[in-house]
Symmetry: C2
Subunit: 115 residues, 2 copies
DNA sequence: CTAGAATTTCGACATGCGTCAAAGTAGAAG
DNA sequence: CTTCTACTTTGACGCATGTCGAAATTCTAG
């Protein structure tokens, strides 16, 4: 128990983040720093069955299909969602690990130091 | 205890976020979706005493003072940091409430439903 | 193979964002 | 009041991003 067990605050407020970590985290954050992508991520993640067809997504936006596809690609490239084609349709599901990374950045961690 | 106590996942993956909530959250996320601002926020939040002089910030970046000031303003406008002038120097400190908002978006909440 | 639907890629455009140099503001020191 | 330092605002520039229309891709159905 000599080592620090700092529970004070979010990781980001515990010690200065390194430049490379900042670049990595910022890339992830940039992927969700858009209302459309946030809604898409939320719709995909909260859908019963864990999977959503793209065709069920486009209807809720005043955007063209190419634009939705563009946002989906950004989320997928960031590792936040995964896509799979089955027949005519493409289904997307959330990748919880990556989403948790986001939360971990700003959440006062209850984990012991070093974890 | 009859009501749901949904611990499955992040709020964003529990139910579809509303458009207005998405816009609000995206604005907050955009403020931290930049390596420089992420480092700035981290340096301010992790500093002993809870306050940092701007003059202690600029040295760690290969950026001009106006650029640092610009990023600081974005963080302040987003409500993530607060600034105070004392004499010649300006001191910034973190606003934990706003930072927690970010974490709450993506963290599997341990709070009971309805909270 | 042809026809058709779902989705992505491509090309283009307007807007937004990060950066700097120069000028402006606020307080300390003489 | 003048000068110096610390910081912010303004104006400008180039690059990135969100959006669309059109074309290409991938699969199903005859």
């Amino acid at each position: 128990m000599t080592a620090a067990t700092v529970l004070c605050c979010a990781p980001i407020a515990r010690e200065p983040i390194s430049e490379s970590d900042a670049v990595e985290a910022a890339a992830l954050l940039k992927a969700v720093a858009d209302p459309v992508r946030l809604r898409l991520l939320s719709m995909i993640g909260s859908h019963a069955g864990g999977e959503v067809c793209v065709c069920d997504l486009t209807g809720d936006f005043d955007l063209t299909a190419p634009t939705i596809s563009h946002h989906l690609k950004i989320l997928r490239t960031a590792g936040l969602i995964g896509g799979e084609r089955r027949g005519t349709w493409v289904y997307y599901r959330i990748v919880p690990e990556t989403v948790n990374k986001l939360g971990a950045l700003f959440t006062p961690s209850a984990a012991p130091a070093g974890g």
